[in-house]
């Protein structure tokens, strides 16, 4: 008898926002069954309501929608909406989740989302998805891309407004009999091995702060409402109009920190993302209407994330955002004009007043325990002073064994952090349930592929409006008419969002109905959306490579916004070119390539050790390579923290765990010298003190860290009283009360030699390091003096409380203007001269110690490592991930992942969850013994090949060999390509003198027609005509 696995290979994910969706996808890809339990009628969460995301200004729905569709289509994921979690019982590995499923009053199987019920419904209610800016019916679909893609009946209303009146008109109207007013609530039980809480946290309601005039004055909106105003699918279709008179506002003000950093509402924390989304909203508003004059009232601009500083600087320079450092005392309305008067105190202490047409309040988030406390109470989680769930900083996503947390349920944060934590929670769950992986899942069955290779092309063309992202600049209806005239095009259709779930259904239906055998999607970039549409082809029984995309957004509408006529002509021609290629598409069958289920982790700091442990705990053999003599990296330079991590204990424990783990092999004083291969089968040579050791593995995690930047200014290195923050930390860690005398003065200067032109990034950790060291000094001797000269204090999230603590303990924080940097006069002792804006004059502070916050600099080896692994490094020298929002630990190169300070400077808890996230993403590859090979491999026409072997000499992967064969009694020589080794670069194709090698998907027969189409005379004069 074999022993039955004791854990259950299923996970309940509570919350279906981007965090829950990411956790679900990772676990489902690893071979676990996942139940997504969502309280509202659709998954998508807050991200579905956002217009754009910073710092790339990606359309939020465009990057989210593919994930939602993936989630809905995943064979291993079951989505349950309208559910409330009533309790979790049991033990790690074996929980029972009690759920109340509220009635939707709609049969999901039958609803076609046609909308005829909505048309006849007589009840009108504020539309919650649009934050009440417009009305909806009692029977409604939350938003066009909602998943499940079905209607729902609101019987309850919202307190003020009544819901469904049971008139039953919808029942009569519904042709598919999907409506059932008799549906009753159901109690359901789910047996799972682990639970991930990703329930999010609601935005602050500024009604409790009457001085801002929210709900009193119509033209005061919250930032979440303004996201909807910006959105093409929102109440004003993306036109910027103010609520009172639907007129276009010119002077628009944003007010920072509404409901954040505010003790009066018990929100002594920073909501971490508002500074950036404010800049984004102002930039996008300017983009929608260039006459808008945006002003931002702020305390600090917390641009602490990757490329955030650059974004803010560009917003100021290029979009003319005006930033006013201030505190707002009151907002009042001029009853005649409905304009708003903002009274504020500026940074010079002067009281001023300005008038605006529209005011946007940048609201923060509220702890889950504060507003929807049922979940927190039901589950009995420990909460912190801000009503957020409490976890330990060195185990950041674990609430208790078997119950994990991710996203803003844990702490206010932006999307990338949430996504990382989602993957980290998945890694933790996977480690717990490793013995039951694959026990509860089934394989996705696609319909058999139709052989269309010999059929005459019948091309279906689907054009995307992408809200107004394409449709606002390219005349889509005109393009549709044009495309209809193209040869072999059998069907043309345009959709608001081609990536939405309902459009996928439409594509599948159209393929079947019109017998289409080649598909062209004219929308955004294939780099993000091709896989989504390929799945739709498979669902329709077509080979996924019978798809071609035309990029009319990133490479057309968005780059020719000022020339709509020319953009339209360009879109036409791009599509015509792609039709020319699509006509010649042929099905491709990918080869299966083996996966060595082992991992290589490069860099043995906290991130590397965590990644290695997580991988090993999930059952994968891992080799950890560290350049230095000992493991630990930058952690050796950290002596204490304020958030409760005992650093020496952490370092000792994790080093021991890593060293003793049976599945981890550590090589210190070692480096990866050479690397060959590709995802699934890499071969590395590791230079160790005892010689070269070869290692074969399937994935790579890069965690090579960063180090403190060594300054060259303020007499550093010349005057022993000048130290960096890390050096001070070491001194303080060894100091006793007696070491600091009364009145001993420490002056700290932030942003030394960074956030400037040479190092244009914020290192995220240094402000907190200064606060931490200042608190330590005050702890050692409260009668010491500490001055922190700063630009913007980046104590985001819960770190804000330590900043407040430091102020209360008498640490002096003085803000300086980057144009007027503090100066050092050191003739007689150290005197720091700094301009104080409030007084309008220079202060001279005599110091005993000058402490420089210099931030981190990337590992100087990064470019070399980047070259070895074929992954990019950004302008600042940090590794560049595949997508800053939604793929924060992946590289574009499949099989390589990143975590820790080499990605961007970060705190210990952030490195830990990012490393676990990298391990989770790596495990989605390692969990299977094979992986599909590259589709775009080269192949040889043996009849044309002369065996000249030029291709062999140019192939970078040694994927081609020269073979001699007997054919019809004759010996023939030709090249032969190994499909597992070929990576599809196409270099051999262009080198072949007889065109005997071709690349699948990029054959001469497919590329040359594109060139011919572009240069054909009928289209030559397009620019002159337009």
């Amino acid at each position: 008898m074999t022993k039955k696995s004791e854990t259950i290979g299923a996970i309940a994910v509570v919350g279906g926002g981007i965090t829950g969706v990411q956790a679900a996808l990772d676990l489902a890809d690893m071979g676990y069954k996942v139940y997504v339990l969502e309280k509202s009628p659709t998954i998508g969460g807050v991200m579905a309501q956002l217009d754009k995301t910073f710092p790339t200004n990606d359309c939020s729905m465009c990057i989210l929608s593919p994930k939602l569709v993936d989630c809905a289509r995943h064979q291993n994921i079951e989505i349950l909406t309208n559910v409330v979690v009533e309790g979790i019982e049991g033990n790690p590995g074996n929980f029972t989740v009690k759920v109340l499923k509220k009635p939707r009053f709609i049969d999901l199987e039958k609803c076609t989302s046609c909308g005829s019920c909505e048309a006849v419904c007589p009840v009108s209610l504020p539309n919650a998805f649009e934050y009440g800016l417009v009305k909806r019916k009692a029977i409604y679909k939350p938003f066009p891309q909602a998943i499940p893609n079905a209607y729902v009946i609101d019987k309850e209303g919202d307190g003020k407004h009544r819901g469904c009146v049971d008139c039953m008109r919808c029942v009569k109207e519904c042709k598919s009999g999907a409506i059932n007013h008799e549906q009753k609530p159901e109690h359901l039980l789910f047996h799972v091995g682990a639970v991930i809480i990703a329930a999010g946290s609601p935005p602050f309601d500024p009604v409790v702060k009457p001085e801002f005039g929210y709900k009193k004055y119509k033209n005061v909106l919250t930032s979440v409402e303004f996201e909807r105003v910006l959105s093409a699918s929102g109440p004003t279709q993306g036109k910027i109009l103010r609520p009172s008179d639907q007129k276009h506002p010119i002077k628009v003000a944003w007010v920072h920190c509404v409901g954040s950093r505010d003790a009066s509402v018990n929100h002594d924390y920073c909501s971490a993302m508002c500074c950036m989304y404010t800049a984004k909203e102002a930039v996008i508003a300017k983009e929608h209407a260039s006459d808008i004059e945006p002003t931002v009232f702020y305390i600090d601009v917390r641009s602490y994330g990757k490329d955030f500083d650059k974004y803010i600087n560009r917003a100021k320079k290029e979009q003319g955002l005006r930033y006013v450092r201030s505190r707002i005392s009151e907002i009042t309305e001029d009853p005649k004009t409905r304009d708003l008067r903002i009274k504020y105190e500026d940074d010079k202490g002067e009281f001023k007043e300005e008038t605006y047409n529209l005011v946007v309040l940048s609201v923060g988030l509220c702890g889950a325990g504060e507003r929807h406390s049922e979940l927190m109470d039901t589950l009995g989680f420990d909460v912190n002073e801000f009503n957020y769930v409490r976890t330990s900083a060195d185990d950041p996503v674990v609430i208790k064994p078997g119950i994990f947390v991710a996203g803003s349920f844990l702490e206010p944060q932006a999307i990338p952090e949430s996504v990382m934590q989602a993957s980290a929670a998945a890694a933790n769950a996977a480690a717990l349930l490793k013995d039951s992986r694959g026990t509860l899942v089934t394989e996705k069955k696609y319909p058999a592929e139709k052989d269309v290779s010999a059929q005459k092309p019948r091309i279906g063309v689907f054009l995307c409006h992408c809200g107004i992202n394409i449709g606002g600049y390219v005349d889509v209806p005109a393009v549709v008419e044009y495309v209809k005239s193209l040869e072999d095009v059998a069907f043309v259709e345009s959709n608001i969002y081609t990536c939405s779930e309902d459009t996928q259904k439409k594509i599948v239906d159209a393929i079947k109905k019109h017998d289409l055998n080649r598909i062209l999607i004219a929308a955004c970039t294939p780099r993000t959306h091709e896989p989504l549409f390929q799945k739709s082809l498979r669902d329709a029984g077509l080979n996924p490579y019978l798809l071609e995309m035309t990029n009319i957004r990133e490479q057309c509408s968005w780059v020719h916004m000022d020339e709509p006529a020319k953009a339209t002509e360009k879109a036409k021609q791009l599509i015509a070119m792609t039709v020319a290629k699509t006509r010649f598409l042929q099905p491709i069958q990918e080869a299966e390539i083996p996966v060595l289920q082992k991992a290589l982790v490069i860099g043995g700091g906290i991130a590397g050790m965590t990644a290695a442990l997580s991988l090993a705990d999930q059952g994968y053999e891992t080799v950890l390579v560290e350049k230095e003599k000992r493991l630990g990296g930058y952690l050796h330079k950290v002596y204490y923290t304020v958030d409760g991590i005992d650093i020496p204990r952490l370092l000792k424990e994790i080093t021991e765990k890593v060293s003793k783990h049976p599945l981890i092999k550590v090589h210190t004083s070692s480096q990866v010298k050479t690397l060959k291969g590709y995802v699934g089968s890499y071969e590395s040579d590791i230079q160790t003190p005892t010689g070269m050791i070869p290692f074969s593995h399937g994935v790579i995690v890069v965690t090579v860290g960063a180090d403190e930047y060594t300054p060259h200014t303020y007499h550093y290195g010349k005057d022993p009283r000048v130290l960096t923050q890390s050096e001070l930390e070491k001194v303080l860690s060894e100091s006793t009360k007696e070491d600091i005398v009364d009145g001993e003065t420490f002056v700290m200067i932030q942003c030394v030699e960074c956030r400037d032109e040479k190092r244009p990034y914020c290192s995220r950790i240094c402000c907190m390091q200064a606060v931490k060291n200042a608190l330590k000094i005050k702890e050692l001797n409260p009668r010491s003096e500490v001055f922190v000269l700063y630009r913007d204090l980046m104590t985001y999230g819960f770190k804000e409380r330590f900043y407040k603590d430091a102020r209360e303990k008498g640490v002096m924080f003085l803000q300086y203007d980057p144009e007027k940097k503090p100066e050092l006069e050191s003739k007689n002792g150290l005197v720091v001269k700094v301009h104080e804006p409030m007084l309008g004059e220079y202060l001279k502070i005599p110091a005993d110690h000058l402490i420089l916050s210099t931030g981190l600099q990337p590992n100087l080896d990064n470019p070399a490592i980047g070259k070895l692994l074929k992954v990019p490094v950004n302008d600042d020298g940090f590794f560049l991930e595949a997508h800053v929002k939604l793929r924060p630990v992946d590289f574009s190169t499949r099989g390589v992942f990143v975590a820790g300070n080499c990605h961007v400077p970060k705190f210990i808890n952030e490195s830990i969850y990012q490393a676990q996230a990298a391990a989770a993403r790596a495990a989605t590859i390692l969990c299977k013994p094979t992986l599909k090979a590259e589709p775009n491999v080269a192949f040889v026409d043996e009849d044309l090949c002369s065996g000249c072997s030029i291709c062999i000499s140019v192939c970078p992967y040694n994927a081609i060999e020269r073979v001699e064969e007997k054919k019809d009694g004759k010996t023939v020589i030709h090249a032969k390509i190994n499909e597992g080794l070929c990576q599809g670069c196409g270099t051999c194709v262009s080198a072949c003198p007889s065109s005997a090698i071709q690349q699948r998907g990029f054959k001469d027969k497919q590329i040359l027609p594109m060139i011919e189409e572009m240069t054909e005379k009928k289209l030559v004069s397009y620019l002159k005509e337009s």
Binding site: T56, N57, D58, T525, P526, R527, N551, R553, E554, Q555, C556, W558, V559, H560, M561, D562, E563, K566, A567, E569, K570, Q573, L574, M577, G866, K867, K870, P872, N874, D875, L880, S892, T893, N936, V954, P956, Y957, Q983, G984, C985, G986, T987, V989, S990, A991, Q999, F1002, D1004, I1007, L1008, M1010, I1011, E1012, M1014, T1015, E1016, K1017, V1020, L1023, K1024
Partner: protein, 149 residues
């Protein structure tokens, strides 16, 4: 065609540029120009290829013979090629191609090879502006003119 008309034509001339961009760097750079909303002239038609090393000289010649006024090839920076060294191969091929262009009576300035990374949206847009203006100054392709006759 009268002299006056010819001048008028040159003033109005909108270059037709075919752009072969590698999937990993330059195509991603062009995408980034889009997500950053950096505006550039609409004269280029991008054809995505997997690697600049796969751009057959035949494609470039064919484009010029068919009537393109310029051809742009974008690859990863030296050392950054996703396929190890495909961009170096593209560069070698380009040197040979320049000689052939001369024999066809074409200026070598009509074919550009540039390294643009996934993070260089601005550089991509700037390069497109620069190339469009440069080809505009060169005037319509003499071969294209021949074909138009």
């Amino acid at each position: 065609m009268s002299e006056e008309k010819k001048d008028h034509k040159k003033e109005d001339f909108e270059p037709r540029i075919v752009g072969f961009l590698c999937n990993w760097c330059s195509y991603a750079g062009a995408d980034l120009a889009g997500t950053s909303r950096i505006q550039y002239p609409p004269n280029v038609r991008i054809i995505r290829v997997m690697c600049s090393g796969s751009v057959d000289s035949m494609y470039i010649l064919r484009a010029l013979l068919e009537g393109a006024d310029g051809v742009f090839v974008g690859g990863c920076h030296p050392g950054d090629c996703h396929y190890i060294d495909g961009n170096y191969k593209a560069r070698r091929r380009m040197v040979l191609l320049e000689n052939i262009l001369g024999t066809l009576g074409l200026e070598k300035e009509r074919v550009w090879l540039r390294w643009i990374s996934a993070s260089e949206g601005q550089k991509f847009a700037d390069t497109m502006k620069e190339m469009t203006e440069s080809i505009r100054k060169l005037g319509p392709s003499p071969i294209a003119k021949h074909w138009n006759l």
